[in-house]
């Protein structure tokens, strides 16, 4: 017979404690349940399914026989893979060079403002409210390669010849990142602004008394105080840009001559243009593994920042 009375004391105590915890958190669990279900069906299940299917021969979305690493061989052996991976890293590099520091600077400037802060906050945030595809099209026309392109019009005022902008394979990725950074800047800037507002004002007042200017205050007080948030945003940005897909799809289609092809876009091509579902799944698993490393790093960093706070 196996009943509560026969149980060892330690085990009984453990079960009681679990039951008590469940009872205590029942409402919380119940409230969380819909979201857990949604995450399960929208995220976890497809992820696990995708990994499993990537090991099978796929006919459309119908799972065929087990194929081992065949899909991975096809993807990693694709002569475009290495070039596309390098492009993706180039996107990340330019996102850091162009888009990383700008929201910090804007947030610091806004934080110093005493008049019109809300107006500028709203203005800066506006691009984040525009759908990604609209932003891409807007910048596509700004970079349009003849005299009707906005930037070429400006060049024309100064007597300069029109530039080919996105059609120049050396400029394509940085220019796509400019459009991407313009859209993302507002949201990231708000995060920095929130962090800045948590900085103890006494520090600034003390610095002011000591005669520190805005640059010195930013360097000596602001940046050290929000360094945790900066680090976390850096990793978030790397993870986000690593998955870039819509912008090159809408602005260049991955061209010219694959100069702006990203891993995300290559996956899209496999899945929706050439219907190579096995390859699309395998490529996404490869990207997933790369992102897991970055995400793990992100969590370690976040924990460290929280501990420091």
């Amino acid at each position: 017979m196996n009943n509560a009375a026969d149980m060892p004391k330690g085990r009984k105590r453990l079960l009681t404690r679990i039951a008590w915890r469940i009872k205590k958190d029942a409402v919380a669990w119940l409230l969380l349940l819909p979201f857990l279900l949604m995450i399960f069906f929208i995220l976890w299940k497809p992820t696990v399914q995708g990994i499993t299917w990537s090991l099978h021969r796929m006919q459309g979305y119908n799972v065929g026989e087990f194929a081992g690493l065949e899909n991975y061989r096809v993807v990693l052996g694709d002569t475009q893979f290495l070039g596309t991976l390098i492009n993706t890293l180039e996107y990340v590099f330019w996102a850091i060079v162009i888009g990383f520091w700008l929201p910090i600077v804007v947030a610091i400037l806004l934080n110093e403002l005493s008049l019109g802060k809300n107006f500028f906050k709203f203005t800066m945030y506006m691009p984040s409210m525009i759908p990604a595809i609209a932003v891409s099209m807007l910048w596509y026309y700004i970079f349009f390669p003849n005299e009707s392109g906005l930037l070429n019009m400006v060049l024309g005022w100064f007597g300069k010849d029109p530039s080919t902008w996105l059609q120049n394979s050396k400029m394509t990725i940085p220019l796509i990142i400019v459009s991407n950074s313009w859209k993302q800047m507002g949201a990231t800037m708000l995060l920095y602004l929130a962090a800045l507002q948590g900085v103890n004002r006494d520090l600034y007042e003390a610095a002011l008394i000591d005669g520190a200017g805005i640059l010195k205050r930013a360097w000596k007080i602001t940046l050290p105080q929000i360094s945790g948030v900066i680090l976390i945003n850096l990793v978030r940005q790397i993870i986000g840009v690593f998955q870039i897909m819509e912008q090159p799809l809408a602005m260049t289609g991955g061209g010219p001559n694959n100069a702006s092809m990203s891993l995300g876009l290559l996956g899209y091509r496999y899945a929706f243009q050439t219907y190579q579902i096995g390859s699309a799944l395998a490529l996404n698993v490869v990207m997933f593994l790369m992102l897991i490393v970055l995400t793990a790093f992100y969590f370690v960093l976040q924990r460290k920042v929280n501990q420091d706070d």
Partner: protein, 465 residues
């Protein structure tokens, strides 16, 4: 009390979420009525007249076939929405697909085998051999053939006139070779400032158009050697064809400044006078895009044959089909065949199907679309429909005399189907080659094709099972 309310609300929320997952479950339909979900239906709000006509035809069909209900669906096939719909089992029962997608769809296993219904109706033997080849894979027929065509050149009359390229009768002397096309397009751009020739470079369209040029220069893209497919287009012939594309930009200065052009953009440029010549086909769909969607004056549309090259004059074969998703019931297949016939698309016609065809022509006439005096490319080689359809076409023919004469010299052009293996992937690679020669005046044509052929061999042909 507060805790109780919280608990109840949480329970309700959870119940709703769980409910969401089950509310979509289909209930088994136990009825004798066959419901056929037909796509490409005109949108009620944006095309009210077409919608009204379609609904009228639906009512007539349902009256003639009491066991069948047509369920309209406004979705139309597109490369990027097909797969998600297929994966979610949400494809309509009967919808349009172009010739270019046949291999991908059949290989994905999403097309229903229609051999038995078409054979049962006696249609297989009446099908034009060229078309039958297109709809058949491994001996099975997967598509209802609707029409086919070969590509040619379409021109914007207004721009051609502005460039002084029309004769005293207002007609065009169409270029007979690609070199002549380059020179003509260069002249047009020099005189008008607009693109003399519109060259697509994206979404596989650049590669698709390039096939016509490459074949004219004698390119062989692939061949089977000892049972294996081998890429062959790293050849002097293909280099000459790609060099011509390069010359369009750097020698003839005939192209637009914008390199990123897909088919939609190309048609828009032609329609709005941003470009004079475009490889296209003057079929209903293209004409409708130019006139109805892009506002082109129908009297400004001209068409000529595909130019030739040292090895001949070839034009890609295209066309439209109707398909049904795999797993569709036999009853639905038979209902679809009846709907297909009712629309006058089969080899035989009767009073009802002729009325549908006539309504269609009237709709074209009302939209001011050019109508040819006969069916240009017959899907069927026998059947009562051939003469009846030609008579109807003649009755409603309205095309401008001389505007399409050159295109209509069809027997001087060799139609060619797409390359047999991985045609879409080949187009993607060729898109890149085209972009490379348009970007860089010093691009190495030989090396580009070496790399593309190597990529095609390694990434695709080597994986052919």
């Amino acid at each position: 009390m507060k805790k109780l309310i919280c608990f109840l609300m949480a329970g309700l929320l959870a119940f709703t979420a769980v409910g969401c997952g089950t509310s979509g479950t289909k209930q088994a339909e136990e009825t004798d009525v066959v419901t056929l979900k037909v796509a490409d239906w005109p949108n009620k709000d944006t095309k009210p007249e077409e919608y009204a006509r379609a609904m009228e035809r639906k009512a007539e069909f349902e009256q003639l076939n009491p066991g069948i209900v047509i369920e309209p669906d406004t979705w139309s096939f597109s490369v990027d929405t097909f797969m998600p719909k297929a994966a979610a089992n949400q494809l309509p029962d009967y919808f349009y697909v172009p010739f270019t997608e046949v291999d991908k769809i059949v290989d994905s296993g999403y097309a229903a085998d229609l051999t038995d219904v078409l054979e049962g109706a006696g249609y297989l033997d009446k099908m034009n051999d060229l078309v039958r080849n297109q709809v058949t894979r491994d001996g099975k027929v997967y598509f209802f053939p609707v029409n086919y065509y070969i590509m040619g050149l379409m021109g914007n009359r207004q721009l051609l006139e502005e460039a002084g390229e029309l004769d005293e009768n207002g007609l065009m002397q169409w270029p007979q070779t690609f070199e002549e096309l380059g020179e003509l397009a260069g002249r047009i751009k020099a005189k008008t400032g607009k693109a003399g020739y519109i060259l697509p470079t994206m979404k596989n369209q650049g590669g698709w158009h390039f096939m016509n040029i490459a074949w004219a220069y004698g390119t062989e893209f692939m061949a089977q050697e000892d049972g294996k497919w081998v890429a062959k287009f790293n050849s002097p012939e293909c280099e000459a064809a790609l060099q011509f594309v390069k010359d369009l930009k750097w020698k003839y200065n005939a192209l637009s400044d914008n390199m990123f052009i897909d088919n939609a953009e190309g048609q828009k440029m032609l329609s709005t006078g941003q470009g004079a010549l475009y490889m296209n086909v003057p079929n209903r769909s293209a004409l409708q895009t130019c006139v109805v969607n892009n506002g082109m004056d129908p009297d400004d549309i001209m068409a000529g044959r595909m130019p030739g090259g040292p090895e001949g004059r070839y034009a890609l074969l295209g066309g439209s089909l109707r398909m049904m998703p795999a797993g569709v019931s036999q009853e639905k297949k038979e209902a679809a065949l009846k709907w297909f016939d009712f629309q006058g698309l089969g080899p035989e016609v009767d009073e009802d199907s002729l009325k549908t065809l006539e309504d269609d022509l009237i709709a074209m006439q009302e939209s001011n679309l050019p109508i040819f005096s006969s069916v240009l490319f017959g899907v069927w080689k026998s059947g009562s429909g051939i003469d009846a359809k030609n008579e109807l076409q003649e009755k409603y023919a309205n095309m401008k005399p001389g505007y399409f004469d050159d295109y209509l010299m069809l027997d001087t052009v060799t139609p060619r189907a797409e390359e047999p293996m991985n045609a879409q992937e080949l187009y993607t690679l060729l898109d890149s080659c085209i972009q490379a020669v348009l970007e860089d005046e010093n691009a190495d044509v030989h090396q580009l094709l070496e790399d593309a052929a190597n990529d095609f061999q390694n990434n695709y042909l080597n994986n052919v099972k």
